[in-house]
Amino acid sequence: MTIDKNQLLRFTTAGSVDDGKSTLIGRLLYDSKSIFEDQLDAIETTSKRRGHEGVDLALFTDGLRDEREQGITIDVAYRYFTTPKRKFIIADTPGHIQYTRNMVTGASTANAAIILIDARHGVIEQTKRHSFIASLLQIPHIIVCINKMDLVDYKEARFNEIMADYEEIASKMLIKDVRYIPISALNGDNVVNKSQNMDWYHGAPLLHVLETLHISSDINKIDGRFPVQTVIRPQNEAHRDYRGYAGRIASGIFKPGQEIVVLPSGFTSVIKSIDTFSGNVQEAFAPMSVVITLEDDIDVSRGDLIAKKNNMPEVSQDIDLMLCWFNNLPAKPRAKYKIQHTSNEQKAMIKEVVYKVNIDTYERDKVDKELTMNAICRVKIRTTKPLMIDSYRTNRTTGSIILIDDATNETVAAGMIV
């Protein structure tokens, strides 16, 4: 069986009703046999009841009653499909500006993003918005699907024109790996199978690209970071003095015998063993969940971070962030929030909003700096105790935070450390 080796790829799509996103997802799921008969039956029944012609695949991707009734995607929905090569998780998100926070949420765990462009309309505001979010959330791979090629007579010239326009956007952002595929989601051109209508395109169809994207190198194997989630103390006969630190490796490679430092205390020790239920391991890397034991009996608890002694994160109370605001209530000036960073929970105060980004034009607004719903701003915060941080660009785990409002317990913002 190949399941022992196959990797997981998480990708995000963003889009509104008309740009063919649902059709594209529907086709990927349908052609990979991930839509079941009873699901199709249910969608067919609903399509008929609504008076739609044929089967409306958008009904499959919209899960909540309100979404189906209004014909829009509101929340992030997760879809799954498997091919003989990989397992895929799609974070299917809405595309409209009023749902920026949902796009950000879907993008936060993605290895790749599919940006859909309607071949008739070319690069529009929404394209820029989705690209900005993909770049802000540091999605390593961008696949630009130029859709509805059937409606522009499958012309290579149109494809090249749009590609040139997009290159200009990409050059303004930190997007490392961009690919372009001309498709027709409706007819299936270059989605799963290579199109017969576009001989001039020599690249692979979308599914093949998704199956072969090189994602192993996206993981940071250099900076050893291990946020401690909880302490394991069995206190039974067999393990009377056992004290292990449970967590998931955020980055780097840990081995027994390595010199480590526990932050923020600064105590140093040596890794005694790395334990799992199936036995000790000689090496552990991201994103493995393990238990680490140390040679010395030092004080380590939840919220602490174990790092390699010769490669430490920054330990700081003053942090610069790109912050995306999620809540109906705007941030109050100098308001205090709970801050969650890996397993560490502290208080933080927003000291200053430096500028707000217009995510359609990429302009920086230094006048309107209010943190309102969906705003993305550069901010400075101060925390009550130091956090052990890396820049989001080098580490998605130790470089990200959320803010929680004490009064409601709601998650009001997400931040990426600059």
């Binding site: 997981l8 929340d75 997760y78 039974n236 998931r248 709970k338 929680i404 317990n409």
Partner: protein
């Protein structure tokens, strides 16, 4: 290819273990909702791995409709013994006897909806602040929108339009007294993943999942097992068939499929070729287009 990568099953396992440890760290009194079905068995297995060499730190909570497969109850008790875990049983029969709920009437009456009250009572009575479930996002359309950490208000209700955004792997379990969370560590698993994992880890599952001969009645497009709780009408015909169950729930609504798959490997192959979802055999999901969403809003699993 680099040796520093995990296969997808290893990655899903690591994610689930991370989630279970977060639960332990963030809540005072978390329990695992244990139905005796494969998903909750996998969750219990993952909890065992997450806290090893310590024993599993969660109680198991079973909402007992009173309409059980006897095999499920035996399996539950054996597992509780083996894990040395504490078992909490919320009894629907007790709730009926106490007048907290009354039985549904009519031909297709079930105790499905009645579980909601019993579950919420058990959560309140035992001061549970987090109930861990085996729900998966691939099961049903409203579940596709479910968070790993899913907030329930003081009435146990889910508000799907007002869910907390969930980014990266940072889980916000903050809540007020009387509220609780439902947490779904295997959110990202599919039915196929569960079977592949059961095979890989050699996890024990109830014999009901394997093909066996049983008396069944054809109802609502599936083979409903004959039992003392089943209300038959004159058209119903009891037949002997070789069947197995894709999900295990209340015996009166869990439909079997005809099958010869009598090993985990054969089941995995059969599931891979399936053209219907596993909940397609659950009468409870067929009542309306949004029946799952409606029940979930009220506090269902």
């Amino acid at each position: 290819m680099s040796k520093y990568y995990l296969s997808y099953l290893e990655e899903l396992e690591s994610e689930a273990i991370f989630v279970l440890r977060e639960v332990w760290a963030q809540f005072q009194n978390p329990v695992i909702l244990f139905s005796g079905g494969k998903d909750s068995i996998v969750v219990a297995h993952l909890a065992k791995k997450a806290f090893y060499p310590a024993k599993i730190p969660f109680s198991l909570m079973h909402v007992d409709t009173g309409h059980n497969f006897s095999e499920t109850i035996k399996f539950r008790d054996d597992l509780v013994n083996e894990y040395g875990a504490n078992l909490i049983v919320g009894s629907v029969q007790q709730a009926i006897d106490d007048g907290r709920v009354s039985e549904e009437r009519g031909k297709n009456a079930t105790r499905n909806e009645l579980q909601i009250t019993t579950l919420l009572d058990a959560i309140e009575h035992n001061k549970v602040d987090c109930a861990i479930g085996g729900g998966r996002r691939d099961e049903e359309k409203s579940r596709a929108k479910e968070r790993f950490f899913s907030h329930r208000d003081e009435f146990g209700q889910w508000d799907p339009k007002n869910q907390r955004p969930e980014l990266w792997n940072i889980f916000n379990g903050n809540h007020f007294q009387g509220e609780h969370f439902r947490v779904f560590p295997i959110s990202n698993w599919t039915e196929m993943d569960v079977w592949n994992y059961i095979a890989k880890e050699n996890i024990k599952i109830p014999s009901l999942y394997f093909a066996h001969e049983r008396e069944v009645v054809w109802k609502n497009d599936s083979w409903i097992p004959n039992s003392e709780y089943l209300i038959l009408d004159e058209h119903d015909k009891i037949e002997l068939k070789k069947v197995r169950f894709r999900t295990l729930g209340d015996i009166t609504i869990t439909g079997g499929i005809e099958s010869d798959a009598d090993t985990v490997e054969k089941i995995a192959l059969e599931v891979a070729a399936m053209r219907k979802t596993e909940r397609g055999n659950r009468t409870d999901d067929k009542r309306s287009e949004s029946s799952m969403e409606d029940r979930k809003r009220q506090g269902y699993f």
